[in-house]
């Protein structure tokens, strides 16, 4: 099974582990992520103002390119996934945006939101299945207590993202279980880490991230897995006293598949 793959800037620079292990695991699991030719930065945030069009264009170019190949578009970074999926939904449902964008881009064929945008975890959950994944595990994780950290952008708004129940998700927990770990739920696993506040208002972000870390450590979690480079950064800079390690879910996957 082949998918078009959009990495995004951060995966090629500061978050290379996220990508490296994703690609090697994909090969092991039997699917291929074909990196798109000529992709650009998705913009990092989904433009919420209804009168912004230019800021959505790069996502549309990515989507149109995936449409040409006739493949589903897979993303790894929660933030890129959020931006591209929401722009796709706009192109599918909002006529005025669709017309303006198509008029500007002048593609060989108008783009109408036909591509399906899925996250790597959705490939594992829906296309391969966690049961199948469990069978392919070579190095089960020895019932290690691992907590999932979802963050915001993967789950909300639920009407568009449709990834899992935004208040009580279970995808990453099932993932951890399939790999042989012991998933531990803790109440702060869907709370915001502070996001972009950590640039200019570092204290606010570390305040929010600390709540997450102390909640995890109260539940005896030593390890947190996440899907977003920004969440990982915010959690790491706030981690001073709890002794919790933070890693990408792909690192865990690679470890369980014996690739690390």
């Amino acid at each position: 099974m082949k998918y078009s793959y959009f990495p995004g800037c951060t995966l090629k620079t500061k978050a290379q582990e996220l990508e490296k292990y994703a690609l090697s695991s994909a090969k092991e699991l039997g699917f291929e992520l074909e990196e798109q030719m000529e992709w650009q930065c998705c913009g990092a945030v989904y433009p919420l103002a209804t009168d912004e069009i230019a800021t959505k264009l790069s996502s549309v170019r990515t989507l149109a390119s995936a449409k040409e190949k006739g493949e589903k578009l897979v993303t790894l970074c929660s933030a890129c996934h959020h931006v591209i999926k929401r722009v796709n939904e706009d192109m599918r449902t909002d006529e005025s945006i669709r017309n303006k964008v198509n008029n500007y881009l002048n593609l060989s064929e108008d783009y109408k939101g036909e591509v399906e945008v899925i996250h790597y975890l959705e490939v594992l959950r829906d296309e391969i299945g966690f049961d199948q994944l469990e069978k392919l595990v070579k190095n089960p994780l020895n019932k290690r207590k691992i907590g999932a950290y979802y963050g915001c952008l993967l789950l909300r708004p639920n009407q568009v993202m449709s990834f899992d129940d935004p208040e009580n998700p279970s995808t990453i927990e099932q993932f951890i279980k399939a790999l042989g770990g012991e998933p531990v739920k803790y109440p702060y696993r869907t709370e915001c880490c502070g996001g972009y506040l950590s640039l200019d208002k570092k204290d606010m972000a570390t305040g929010m991230a600390s709540n997450i870390l102390s909640s995890a450590s109260k539940h005896e979690i030593d390890e947190i897995v996440t899907a977003c480079p920004l969440c990982k950064y915010n959690l790491e800079i706030s981690e001073t006293k709890n002794g919790v390690t933070i890693s990408y879910f792909t690192e865990l996957l690679a470890e369980a598949l014996g690739l690390k």
Binding site: E167, N168, P187, K218
Partner: protein, 661 residues
């Protein structure tokens, strides 16, 4: 030559404000057959009706057209008026120039043109109207009440006291409904079981009432006065006539793995059980899916210990077919599922409970004998937080748009019950608004604040974070403008009420409609709140919309009175606008029998004379009592052998012709 009279109503300014009624009357006077055309402000008033009646007499009118509001409003009024002066009521035709014209258009010129066209069509149809005589149907003097909660019990008692036989059917093993689960009722704080059980016993002892518990409606056919209902009595596995209600079987049953529905899942029950001690009938039921004997073939202890030999593992479901004159639906409500409201941690932490679970905790007959104990560690809570509007007043796909009506009152009741027994417990209530519209209701809620010191916080809760032994409730006080946090021991959610999940299915069996929230639809929200659009079927209680006990009892008695009106008649006049078969044209294809939604058409064999011989021919036959005059058969019939009296093919075509030319 027809002598048609046209009466154009102003309806005050409802019609006359948009339609030039004088112009319509003027144009109508020119239409073929019209000998009188006049207008008046309020045709339905006494003066208007007298004008109508006198005109018929003096002008010797043989057809009349009233251009006014919808026939649903006043067709019956004008038919009665016509009949009173000797004109057959089915020679009256209504042109709807209000709902179909003045109420939906703004342009006066166009609206007037349309009104004239509508009148022209009505005149063309009226010309072909025939005198029709309504038939009579008998009434079965028996009522069926579906649902044995307080609404069903009250309705049954009223109808039975009036002298008619009533059957109550109830899905669960005992009557009583939600009221049996409640501890105390607002605003009097009466013990719920104490006021309910006497009524339950009255119902079971009443000579005119038959109770069928553990039973469901399987099929309904027929029509008002003559419903035929098939009831499925599920096998209790206990012979009711032999059982003495001693309860030894329940004591000895080894299977205790099923969550008790009555106790809202707080504790388990046995496989053989009665839902609660005051159950009526006091005869247990075996839950075959939990029973070890039925699952594995081993056990059977209950049968061994039963001294009355009442256990019967071979017992089967039985079906009863019964005729009824009226049906009352009183199936009640449930609380919404909370699976889309994960932020409240219901299901994640045992100390987050629903209001109905709280009722069981404070109830002296409940799982903790009335002591307020935390489900997690059975210790007394120090701080209790109530959260109102969980799922109510919610426009998103997660919740219900309506206000559930009872929660503000029962939350105040819960808060006061705690404070009365345990004055040292801190009680907080998060609310959006406080709604206390009934008699003594506002005083009741204010007592919680002013006398008992319950902390009412105007604001919602964002999320409940379980933290060790505590629950951190993260909310906001909108009046001060501060976010707040409470370390609670127990959180009680006032969950939105919802209609029963099988309401839509029951509605289909009865041919009554449900609204977008699955509550049954009343015939008119203001003036006909207990009737449905299906004659002979009435509604009582929370199945029609969220309501508290005083309103439910009032509505139950109202439904009973409507039922009694019908049952007290010796006969019912039926609708003569029914289908009729021209046997000479009928080819016997019987397509009409397939299409009729009321199963009103069957076939028969007749003998006709053809080419000097007597031959047998298959033709369709319409049961006039079942036919509702929908006209579906007239469309299906290829040789046009079946036609609808009062709405014949010729009449419809005449209307179309009048509109087009």
């Amino acid at each position: 030559m027809a002598r048609i009279g046209v009466f154009v109503c102003w309806c005050g300014s409802n019609i006359a404000g948009i339609v030039d009624v004088k112009e319509v009357a003027k144009e109508a006077a020119k239409m073929p057959g019209v000998v009188l055309s006049t207008d008046y402000q309020y045709m339905c008033s006494e003066i208007g009706q007298n004008l109508f009646k006198n005109a018929i007499k003096e002008q010797k009118l043989d057809r009349v057209v009233v251009a006014a509001c919808s026939p649903r409003m006043h067709e019956a009024t004008f038919r009665k008026a016509a009949e009173s002066v000797g004109l057959n009521p089915y020679l009256v035709e209504i042109a709807n120039i209000r709902e179909h014209c003045s109420w939906v258009h703004k342009n006066k010129v166009e609206a007037t043109e349309k009104a004239i066209a509508l009148v022209r069509a009505a005149v063309a149809k009226a010309t072909l109207n025939q005198e029709l005589i309504a038939g009579e149907i008998g009434i079965e003097k028996r009522a069926l009440v579906i649902g044995g909660g307080i609404a069903g019990i009250q309705t049954a008692l009223d109808i039975a006291d009036a002298g008619y036989t009533v059957d109550i059917i109830e899905k669960t093993p005992s009557i009583g409904g939600k009221m049996a689960q409640i501890d105390k009722t607002f605003p009097t704080l009466d013990c719920s079981a104490c006021i309910l059980t006497p009524k339950m016993v009255d119902a079971s002892m009443h000579p005119n009432i038959n109770i069928h518990t553990y039973s469901e409606v399987e099929k309904v056919s027929g029509y008002v006065g003559n419903f035929e209902v098939t009831i499925n009595k599920k096998a209790r596995s206990v012979i009711m006539e032999k059982c003495s209600g001693c309860g030894v079987c329940i004591e000895k049953c080894p299977s205790k793995k099923t969550k008790s529905e009555f106790e809202e899942g707080l504790i388990n029950r046995k496989a053989i059980y009665t839902p609660f001690p005051q159950a009526v009938p006091n005869v247990p039921v075996i839950d075959r899916e939990a029973c070890i004997k039925f699952k594995t073939g081993k056990c059977g202890i209950c049968k061994k210990v039963c001294t009355a030999e009442a256990i019967d593992f071979e017992q089967e479901n039985t079906k009863i077919v019964q005729k009824y004159g009226v049906i009352i639906v009183s199936t009640g409500y449930d609380l919404m599922d909370l699976d889309r409201f994960g932020e409240y941690a219901y299901g994640e932490d045992p100390d987050v409970i629903t209001s109905l679970e709280f009722e069981r905790l404070t109830n002296a007959a409940g799982p903790t004998s009335g002591k307020l104990l935390r489900p997690s560690n059975h210790k007394k809570p120090e701080k209790v937080v109530f959260i109102q509007c969980v799922g109510s007043r919610d426009n998103t796909c997660r919740g219900k748009t309506y206000c559930s009506k009872i929660c503000c009152m029962y939350t105040a009741k819960h808060a006061m019950l705690i404070k009365e027994k345990y004055p040292d417990i801190e009680v907080h209530v998060f609310y959006i608004d406080i709604r206390t519209p009934g008699k003594n209701f506002d005083e009741f809620q204010r007592r919680a604040v002013e006398y008992y010191g319950v902390n009412y916080i105007k604001g919602m809760v964002g999320k409940v974070f379980p933290d060790g032994e505590k629950l951190i409730v993260s909310g906001v006080d909108t009046l001060i403008g501060e976010t707040i946090e409470i370390d609670a021991d127990l959180v009680v959610l006032a969950v939105a009420t919802k209609a029963k999940d099988d309401a839509e299915e029951l509605g289909r069996k009865l041919s009554i409609s449900t609204d977008t929230n699955n509550f049954f639809t009343e015939a008119h929200p203001k003036l006909r709140p207990v009737e449905t659009h299906s004659a002979g079927i009435y509604l009582a209680g929370a199945c029609q919309g969220p309501k508290d006990i005083p309103e439910t009892v009032a509505q139950a008695s109202a439904a009973a009175s409507k039922a009694i009106i019908l049952l007290s008649k010796s006969k019912l006049v039926n609708n003569p606008c029914v289908a009729e078969v021209d046997e000479a044209l009928c080819c016997g294809c019987l397509e009409c029998t397939n299409i009729c939604p009321y199963e009103a058409i069957s076939s028969k064999t007749i003998e006709i004379r053809e080419h000097g011989k007597i031959v047998k021919k298959l033709v369709s036959e319409v049961n006039e009592a079942l036919c509702q005059g929908c006209g579906g058969c007239t469309v299906t019939c290829r040789p046009s052998a079946i036609d609808l009296n009062g709405f014949s093919n010729k009449q419809i075509l005449a209307e179309v012709d009048a509109l087009c030319f």
